[in-house]
Symmetry: C3
Subunit: 466 residues, 3 copies
């Protein structure tokens, strides 16, 4: 019989002197407020403050980390009622999930889930086919209580600031509603212009037109298009936005003459641009966004290198973001050069680089960030937001870029209740890394305490200007 | 003076709490039968059951792991009598090997050799120039005993099933002879069609013609060629074969219209295909093999990314497989897409992916296997079938793909007496990894015992349908 | 209050049994003489034996590891007086450095600096804004003492041999002066022909002409050019040179017919070669250098894969080598093949390969060096010359290439006083790695002592023929 799902010393190295330091560092940061500068929760949850519907809708259906693993082992997405507005039989979905729970052994998803099960819902016995209904009933019951409403959870989680990610076309009604409600939370939108800067995005041209209309500009011209983007950025900024986010297939940038750029824009809008020209357009737009960031101070985030919707059948049947995005090797050294030639030495500019290609950490990202004043390294992303992934990130970037060219943690999640679990994991793993440095006499303990605090709290606030 | 060559706790982490768990896990799996679903032993050894000739022929001449290291340090292959039918002076070869034994410090080869020296031949003092003759005499003497004949060793090794790797042109006489002999061993052929699907294979066209003749098909036509392959597969299957194996230079796949494929086949057979067309043909053949696997249930293994026979001089003088194959960076994300678009969601299909490019583990292979129902990850291959290589594999794949999208261990060896050593090493390294997870409270100990059993035994049986 | 900047057990694993072995191994090698076969100190320091001017000129201005980190965090190179003949206000530069010292937490630079501060200058309190002046005054005072002159330091550092790196155009006056002075130090030049073999090097054609003049050859012809190079090598060799060094953008080699090569040379000299032809010329020159090495016995070092002067603004304003070189993914498997086809099996030839692309370690460099008799692996280079980088190198190369296809340590530094710190770090990290192998029973302790000695001393002497 297990008393707890999670051990107090989890993720700390077993060796006693390292563990002792790690614990001590963690004690200093475990209760710091959460800074969440990048994620995919929905502002509407906090605007309406309605209860989360059921355990399946909370834990299974929105979380592609969960259902991609189930799918890989033969569970059908139909049986999980994925892509439906709401599960008709949430208990059935939950039982499928529970009976496959052993698949998650050794994964961070398992630890995030157990954290929420234990800390939020008080479960003490492991989820399994046998305990499926106990879990379902306990969670379903709690979700109806006032202390489990979105705003109550936000407060319970000790979140100091939470950024969502929105299209420039989003009217930000939920964000406005939160502001107007008088509730004292700091929930901000990040500006993600992919739908209006990536010609390969579904509905690109119509979205650009809409962008123009919304902002009172003629977005069929290059000048009007840029002005509309500037206005949209200003509108986001007025609601507290401090950052933009760019999910491009590559890190390619370009620095065309404005006349060339205008001609390229016209061709792209006319639907006559080939693949290389569409790539060039995205590349140019990163440099345009950097130019606007120099002007308005929004921090840029670049998330390149994901092949979206790799599984044709799943995409055609269930749509985007169904756990079938697969990373590709990513070039930064040549790709970023045009932008860096133009703005790389601007001290007012901050560009946070992410990667799904871990080979870039030591070869190119740490050398770049350890030199260019505008560059910082984002935390390990997506598949690498895991104990081993976070350890590799520190081991492969710190010696060249140090700690101060990194920016703390992003939870980057759609799964709201996983936020405390994810920050807790990151804090533990960073303390474990620092604990090893201290125990190996590569860093003094007083310095390690300062660094731990910066990694858990200070760097994210500073880098994201929060 | 050393009492033993190998320590009972070898390969377990030094930290006492991790080591304790690792030992306990290992105790649960060390004596499990060996499942060897992929390797390069010769069925003829077991069909004829003749003694292995001498120590050099057993340990040095067939093992390119051994002689490539000697060659790298200036030993000539002629002096090792490589490429000869049999050594004329095996003792001289053995002395050269023994006097260079320190080169193998820190390599898995050293541990495999020491395991066989100790466990099989009872040696207790380290091999060196000084002990060369003691070893030679002791091993040579034992090889003449009945308990060192191939079948006796097979039984002593506790092998439950052993797969060899054969060309579709192989008549499988040795496999048939084993079956007919009444000996109760399970020795199966795997179907490796490279000589008849790779236009760059020496003698390709003639081999295709022979394939047609052997199977009563006109293999000069696309249809006849495919039928001949189908029949050859059926013939292998009748002798217990459960898998195919594909050693392509890249992981490229294609999904041509059948008319296009037929035209390409004609061009390839006419010797008029250029390099890109020959690559396209191999790519198409992977998809054809997948189609046949959906029909007949054979599990596919894909082993891409080796530049074969990199050393021109060595190839011209000594032939293939002389330790001069060098890995190349390997693309999977785009390369596999045509095949996956066609069959990736087939739950009846199993494709086991291997790599020599470790950068693919976390970037693409784990994400692919953690999503597509047909994909599984093969164990670390070749240069990476080593303690550090196996550790990296687990550290870089588990968090995304879990344990259950992997398939246990392959010894993949030509060196029959290294089989127990290799499985023992894999079991120890997996238990060391699991021991760390348990000691860091990332996995419960009862679960770790289940996983250890699956990694050592269950997953290989299941994935290979044995 | 801290008594010491550095702990005696630094860089050893915390686990007690590993640490015990590591310490014991380190005790056997810590006081071995320093073999420094590759570096960038200046022979003139030892020829003139003048005092180093001030702390900033010693620690900050020549060390791009130091100022690149400061620059990345917004410090201007002008404020550091970089690119000036000498700092006008060294104390001001020093204070900037001191007040940013926390940026170096977790970096090897920090440990190298602390080593010199403690061992050479007797500092006991950490460098910071507060202690900046104490440091400046103490160091400045000591630099004026006789025991801090370059020759005295060379002797204090227990250097057995030190190689500098020089252009073929260098008259080697400083080296000659050292020889003629009667001082018994062994300071040798390495032959680095990049300025006369790389068409993209600033001033290439003029330098080739000068090479011809200096050596009494008509370097406008292919034959005369090669003869001039041969004579220049002989001149270096007469002053003790044992190696050449090649800093090419890629590892590409070629093996053209001599007539083709002559035509290419003519085109290159005429300034009419395009980028691909200039690359082909560099490629051919590596093979020419290998041919000369077979003749004259100079060991070749190949350092490929750095994108030099990535930051346009910094290059235009401050020049070369300003911390803005960024590594690129590097192909070896195809690139080296032409050279290896020609000379790969020459036992008289030694080629030492370096990389900035760590993915090459296990995928291609260890497999190559574990097979070809002429190849050896250089130590981790530049950004990877760090505790984690050196650990990864051993973990990723040893199992395939062993220890004896590696060549010991290079300090590769411009920062003379960091030499003992760098060798000490390498010895500690190698002993830590060996200590783990011993504690995990993967290597016997008596063997580990031999290997530790070879890694710290023997292999460098042997590989570089010193």
């Amino acid at each position: 019989m297990k008393a707890m799902l999670l051990h107090e010393d989890r993720l700390f190295p077993a060796e006693s002197s390292v563990r002792k330091v790690a614990r001590s560092l963690y004690d200093g940061v475990r209760n710091l407020p959460i800074i969440s500068p990048h994620g995919h929760t929905q502002a509407a949850w906090f605007a309406t403050n309605e209860p989360f519907p059921d355990p399946a809708a909370l834990f299974v259906q929105p979380d592609h980390y969960v259902f991609r693993m189930l799918y890989s082992q033969g569970v059908s997405l139909d049986d999980l009622e994925i892509g439906q507005p709401a599960a008709r039989e949430p208990r059935k979905v939950w039982r499928i999930f529970a009976s496959h729970y052993s698949l998650f052994r050794g994964t961070p998803t398992r630890m995030w889930l157990d954290f929420a099960f234990q800390e939020l819902f008080g479960m003490t016995e492991r989820l399994s086919e046998k305990t499926a209904d106990v879990y379902f009933d306990a969670i379903a019951e709690k979700l109806r209580r006032p202390e489990f409403l979105p705003r109550a959870l936000y407060e319970k989680f000790n979140i100091e600031v939470l950024s969502t990610t929105e299209s420039p076309l989003d009217e930000l009604k939920a964000h406005t509603a939160i502001r107007n409600s008088g509730w004292k939370a700091r929930i901000l939108p990040a500006f993600r212009p992919d739908p209006v800067v990536d010609p390969d995005y579904e509905g690109f041209a119509a979205q650009v037109a809409q962008l123009g209309e919304q902002n009172g500009e003629d977005a069929s011209t290059w000048k009007g298009y840029l002005s509309a983007l500037r206005k949209a950025r200003a509108r986001f900024k007025a609601l507290g936005c401090t950052s933009t986010d760019h999910g491009h297939p590559t890190a390619q940038t370009a620095d065309l003459q404005q006349a060339e750029a205008a001609a390229l824009f016209a061709k792209v809008m006319a639907g006559k641009a080939d693949a290389a020209e569409r790539e060039l357009f995205r590349a140019q737009m990163l440099t345009e966004m950097a130019r606007m960031s120099v002007e308005d101070g929004l921090v840029m985030q670049i998330h390149p290198g994901s092949v979206r919707n790799h599984n044709r059948f799943v995409f055609e049947r269930y749509g985007r973001d169904m756990g079938a995005d697969i990373p590709r090797a990513t070039n930064y050294v040549d790709a970023l050069r045009p932008l860096l030639d133009r703005f790389g030495n601007e001290r007012k500019l901050t560009i946070i680089l992410f990667t799904l290609d871990e080979t870039a950490y030591s070869r190119v990202l740490a050398p770049l960030a350890g030199h260019y004043p505008c560059l910082r390294l984002g935390p390990p992303w997506w598949f690498h937001d895991s104990p081993e992934g976070m350890r590799r990130f520190r081991e492969q970037t710190t010696e060249t870029a140090g700690f101060y060219n990194t920016v703390g943690f992003n939870d980057d999640t759609r799964a709201f209740v996983s936020i405390p679990a994810r920050h807790d994991m990151a804090r533990r793993v960073d303390c474990a890394f620092l604990g090893r440095l201290v125990a190996e006499h590569r860093l003094d303990e007083d310095e390690a305490h300062e660094v731990a605090h910066d990694l858990a709290y200070g760097l994210a606030k500073k880098a994201y200007r929060l």
